[in-house]
Symmetry: C2
Subunit: 591 residues, 2 copies
């Protein structure tokens, strides 16, 4: 049985001490109400719900999994999941960050990010259901007609209904341009949607009375490829004019997948058979709406990585302190016990610090990104909003790519600390590894994140986000060049940031000559970017911890972890640079 305690102190440290979120939020439209008292109260309440309601269902949900009944084409979720969702909806969590005009609470996205982390630490499989609703909510907020918002968005915000994103088809995974699902106009504004979608998270379940499917499909006159994709809303049950439910629509789950992990999450094959739907946004412009929901979802998946790593860390740290095995190499630290704790062994500390460096550094990164989302949507200055949007869109593939890949390493190390016991189901560590394995795959693989970062955010958009971010790092380095607390960090950070800029120019030049160089560099570039990004947030964390009023143990822990990060993790950037420098010539056809 694994433990989970919401890391409220570190969340507050990231939010208030490192990012100064209180002041930032106060400056936003409607931000006057979003003071520390309110945010702290929400965090406390989220901790209570997630520790007490969701966390205990994590192992049982994995063991039981979802059930599919062929006769009714319906999915039953594991014991307790449905009731937990009812509490979640009743608590108003579904509409936490949704706009007030749709019945939401309009609270900051940065608060949404922290509560999302708690949900996914407590129960990542369960957390996938509201994650999909969030995606649908975002798409409908931004791209839905007024009647669609009235009809579909409000019940989503209330948590009465849930949503899905129906993108993937058997032949169309990363390559959505290949999708075949068709949508034919009925002449009354509605469409008949037909096709098969796979890997549809929350495609069917027993949480809610209706499910709002957002479906990518082609209209009869659609251009080929990704420029001919439209988005439609297709509810599980038709909706009458008064909002009450009508008859069953012609969409149903055809099967659920048997997966390595997140077994409490229903991953469905969805069959659309002339199902009634309505176009969201303009015809053939579905990818734009898709990216609206995808971008928020990608940051959320990065947060899943941080969340599962946090819980793995808590459990492995606990075990390492309690498990007695072997003596310290320099002599017993526990002479009155039969052996020393695992923490007496330096490599165990390496594995623990690796997790902590990614988790706490990643938490600042995720919160920073979410805060840009708040500034983008509620900033009072147009240029500030634009800048925040550019920073956010630049940081999303980094956060998604790095934090999901780091979660592979963190959960692996956490299991390793348990030795053979880590391999046994009852200790729960292997579930973290299995659950974490999905996150480098869905919402765009690491390879897709890397191409998004380098191909789109850097090359196509002239790297606006990178320029802002490097400028910010440079300002930080200059401002604190003679700050004693940062003496160990500013130099290497400045070098790393300069290297990032140089590397970007070099890759851009080579990719202009041969586009294959972009593909050969992208994943290593993503890692390089991620490591420098975390170095910046670790330096900021040390600064934040150095001021008066911060408890001595927090100050020491932040310093220690940052020192570890700069000495033992950040040097990985050289390996990635070497790989990028080697270029596509070292990636020949595999014979």
């Amino acid at each position: 049985m694994t433990i989970y305690k919401a890391p409220l102190d570190d969340m507050r440290f990231a939010l208030y001490n490192v990012l100064g979120a209180e002041k930032v939020l106060a400056g936003l439209e409607g931000g006057g109400d979003h003071n520390r008292e309110l945010i702290d109260a929400v965090l406390d309440e989220a901790a209570r719900f997630n520790e007490q309601v969701l966390a205990p269902l994590n192992a049982s949900g994995d063991e039981e999994g979802c059930h599919y009944d062929k006769a009714t084409a319906s999915v039953t979720t594991p014991k307790g999941f449905k009731e937990a969702y009812r509490q979640y909806a009743d608590g108003g969590w579904a509409g936490l960050t949704a706009h007030e005009k749709f019945g939401g609470q309009g609270l900051p996205h940065v608060l949404g990010a922290l509560t999302k982390e708690m949900i996914d630490s407590a129960n990542i499989a369960w957390g996938i259901y509201p994650l999909l609703s969030q995606g649908a909510t975002d798409a409908l907020e931004h791209h839905g007609d007024a009647w669609q918002q009235d009809t579909f968005l409000k019940p989503l915000v209330e948590g009465r209904w849930t949503g899905t994103m129906c993108l993937t088809e058997p032949q169309a995974g990363s390559d959505l341009g290949l999708l075949k699902t068709r949508a034919e106009p009925n002449g009354d504004g509605s469409y008949k949607v037909s096709g098969t979608k796979i890997f549809i998270s929350a495609g069917d379940h027993d949480f809610a009375e209706n499910i709002v499917h957002l479906v990518l499909a082609r209209l009869p006159d659609a251009p080929a490829g990704s420029r001919g994709i439209s988005m439609l809303v297709v509810p599980k049950f038709r909706v009458n004019k008064d909002g009450s439910l009508g008859e069953r629509n012609k969409v149903a789950a055809g099967a659920i997948e048997h997966k390595m992990g997140i077994r409490g999450s229903a991953t469905c094959v969805m069959n659309f058979d002339d199902a009634e739907g309505w176009l969201i946004g303009p015809a053939h412009k579905g990818l734009m709406a898709m990216f609206t929901m995808m971008n928020a979802a990608r940051l959320a998946v990065g947060i899943q990585g941080l969340a599962i790593s946090e819980r793995a860390l808590q459990n492995s740290l606990n075990y390492a302190r309690e498990r007695l095995q072997m003596r310290a190499l320099s002599g017993p630290v526990n002479p009155d016990k039969p052996a020393d704790p695992l923490t007496a062994h330096p490599d165990v500390r390496r594995m623990l610090l690796t997790q902590r460096a990614f988790v706490e550094g990643g938490r600042v990164l995720a919160a920073y990104a979410a805060l840009q989302s708040d500034i983008e949507t509620r900033g009072t200055d147009e240029s500030e909003r634009k800048k925040a949007g550019e920073l956010l869109s630049f940081l999303i593939p980094i956060a998604k790519g790095l934090l999901t890949e780091a979660a592979q390493e963190c959960t692996k190390e956490a299991l390793q600390i348990f030795g053979g016991h880590g391999y046994i189901a009852e200790h729960g560590m292997e579930q973290f590894v299995r659950d974490a394995r999905i996150i480098t795959l869905y919402e765009g693989t690491t390879q897709i994140q890397a191409l998004d970062l380098l191909g789109r955010k850097i090359m196509q958009l002239q790297g606006a986000g990178l320029k802002h971010f490097l400028g910010e790092i440079s300002d930080f380095c200059h401002a604190h060049a003679s700050d004693e607390a940062l003496a160990l960090f500013i130099g290497p950070l400045a070098v790393a940031a300069k290297g990032w800029g140089d590397l970007t120019q070099d890759v851009a030049k080579r990719a202009a000559a041969n586009p294959e160089e972009l593909g050969a560099a992208a994943v290593d570039y993503l890692y390089y970017s991620g490591y420098v990004t975390l170095a910046y947030f670790w330096a900021r964390s040390v600064l934040a911890a150095s001021v008066a009023g911060v408890p001595a143990d927090v100050r020491q822990s932040k310093r220690d972890t940052a020192s570890f990060y700069f000495a033992r993790i950040l040097p990985r950037m050289h390996m990635h640079k070497a790989a990028i420098d080697a270029g596509v010539a070292t990636l020949p056809e595999v014979i």
Copy 2:
């Protein structure tokens, strides 16, 4: 459903072309018979058995798992496992490398290593049963009395019985000094063994009529800690003087573990309750006998890593060639198809080449190590035997550590190539990840391998093995300094090898001043050593492929993969050096 085809061509390339094994074996005692014709015939037969009998049981064995019946305290293995074992025993595979005087075939260990690779590619869970028998065979060959060899060893070699290694106890994992199982003399030469052992692979099953447990326990007068451990043989059924089976001994499986993977392998809790046993070797010297079986088992576990990576590679390469998704960045390579194959994307090739570099390089490493075992046991020259033994004992932690950790990376990348499909059980890729996760844990974790390498093989034994190995690399570099085929490789290899020597001296110096530095450096030192070791074997592979008679595609593939390895994998050594240089100061107590 996954594919598996024994990589016979590459096995022969490693054996004959790279390592010149034909000539080496011919020079050993009894080696005249071990000619290429014989070895090829055995390899072909092994391929047939493993492809046709074991490989098809891999997925079904995982799905079904083992069953434990509480009433009879007995384990039933998955459907087909028992029958496969019968074929294995009938084929003489159990005694392949055992000495002729015990009924074995006395074939070379290097042949045993290659057939073991096939078994573990085909079905790693099944392969654990004969692996444990092999360990027991080794221990009894070297440390058993004549009557013990007659009574217990011969049926093991015939495959009528199987063996176990009963080491771990709940409080004693990596730290065997903490074990509590007791053995009290009965006065007639036998002992009463009592205690509980956990994680006992093949502890019970339905393969064989008897099971030979080799058990670590304490005699009443045992000194505390690891110097007070004895080894005893405890059969499941007592054995009469004529070799027939007597009554059931007081040892039984109390439960089986529910594990992340290798679910077809029975991992048992074994209860010894005044079970009859006999001392193997001298009292209190059990760890010596334990290391005899452990060392061979560690190399075998390294081979498991290579084996599972080989199968993951075969499947991901196959998928990458067939799956059409997106266009190459420089324009369609498949203009008449809806999309290009995954292999058109450079990062997919990176993931494939990573696997190939570890698999094919690791195969040469494993075969080289096994060949040292042949020279050690059958060499005609005393100093040659001693040198081979030192090389082997030095290379075992490197092979075990590197190849098991590389298997984590290889199976992860192989799954990644499948995208979301990799996460679905039916594709079989996630089983490889789950199965592979055990191998960095059992037979000594990576941390234990690292301490064995740096603490024991380097520091305590004055690094004899390292000196031999660095000498060999240096000789190779000098001999081929002006060899055109090796122009890209000799320089970096010589630098890396020199760096290895320097690093070793530096770490040794620091560890002498502070033993904690050894623990802080060990795992990074293991990786560093592993990467340089593989660089050497890749350079030798390029050389071997450059001579006349080698097919052009093999020559190109070896060159390409070596270039990839030197450009994109070997640079990782710098990161490990940076971590080592940072020292224990960067691994403080975790607050």
